[in-house]
Symmetry: C2
Subunit: 211 residues, 2 copies
DNA sequence: ATGACGGTTAACCATTTGGTTGAACCAGGC
DNA sequence: GCCTGGTTCAACCAAATGGTTAACCGTCAT
């Protein structure tokens, strides 16, 4: 279920094990809470190997985080290809974005950890991308703005709307333990619950935007 | 802006300082990432005082967390008093819930930290409350179910709907650093942004539920 | 064979961190 | 004054943690 985060191809096998393990431990314990020994254990290697492949904890974190944030931003746009109707676009985005997060929950948790801890490193990356013009959600914002202009949907604020869509797609992953206690269905079969959630979210938001 | 989390009244002043500081540090760095020295610094006291008032790190965390989770659950129901129309109820809940989180963001961050870390302690508290019948969101679920039965809103799944409402109310706080980079308005005046968000969320969800 | 080299390991070191201690401080009651 | 109780602090200690080292493989070119 929790797949490997498809690290860089130029990495050796051991490097990928470390990378993978570090992502999961950092995602769970946070930048400072994570212990090098825990990462070594998760990667099933000797602690010294961590420093052989990555200089120190800080460097390891930065490499893992940088790679994760880039993958995250790429996934944003990837879910938006081929826009026919706005209805199809919204459906494709919700499905695609949720599918991406499901395939690598640890990546998302790491992003949230950064936010909780102040998001300094995150800020640097995002500002860079934003200035370069390829800020991830900008595409969706424009899609919604166009739909508003074309009269396809009500005159909502595109920025706020995108934030709402993203919120609903991500939050139930963030609070997964809580959700699984509250919703018996989510506890029994998480996969089915995620599918049901895609349908519900599209239905709710599409009706919320309809004229 | 970041108000004090109104600790238990039976606490002495020093105890409250510690409690308050611990909440903020745990919320930012997580259960294991938090350093006792950091908490002592934030509380502006000597490190030995922490152990004078609270046995050890684990106990301190548990007391802070227990108190936080209880306050959180109470706030859930508190936002639902006096339901006339469903429209008013929804509006009151969104406003009240967001206002509660705004008044104590650290409490919410602590809850999210617990979720990211697996939520074992959280699970114990929630299951207890759920079995006792006073599970926080149960009231909202029933309100929505009634509205569906009365034909006030479309035939949506109440459980999923509540999760969606809560997602949108909480997520922009969780990802506040990211949101502030993406939305210039949120960076300039967070308070005004939160207000705008209340309006937007009510508008989006109310239309999403309307028949 | 051998030696150079990437990879791997256990043992080790220095610093940080959680936690303790004994003395000092500071009321209020006698 | 001086005792007593709760409170506060600097210094201290043992364990945990990040990071290093020197030796040890295995293998491949010479």
């Amino acid at each position: 279920m929790t797949s490997s985060p498809t690290p860089l191809s130029e990495y050796s096998e051991t490097e990928q094990q470390i990378f993978d393990a570090a992502l999961h431990v950092f995602a769970r314990e946070g930048r400072h809470g994570a212990r090098m020994q825990a990462i070594a254990d998760a990667a099933d290697i000797n602690k010294a190997m961590l420093h052989y492949y990555f200089e120190d904890k800080e460097t390891l974190y930065e490499e893992v985080f940088t790679y994760t944030v880039e993958r995250f931003m790429a996934s944003f746009g990837a879910s938006l290809r081929e826009a026919s109707t706005f209805e199809n676009t919204l459906r494709a985005f919700i499905d695609g974005y949720i599918e991406f997060v499901r395939s690598d929950e640890a990546a998302m948790r790491l992003m949230i950890q950064e936010n909780l801890a102040g998001g300094d490193l995150l800020g640097a990356h995002l500002r860079e991308a934003t200035n370069a013009g390829d800020a991830p959600p900008q595409i969706l914002v424009e899609t919604i703005a166009s739909a508003v202009d074309a009269g396809e949907i009500r005159a909502v604020d595109p920025q706020h709307t995108v934030l709402s869509v993203v919120s609903t797609c991500l939050f139930f992953f963030v609070a997964r333990p809580t959700v699984q206690i509250m919703h018996p269905a989510a506890e029994d079969d998480w996969g089915a619950f995620v599918e049901a959630r895609k349908d519900h979210l599209f239905d709710l938001i599409y009706h919320g935007l309809a004229p």
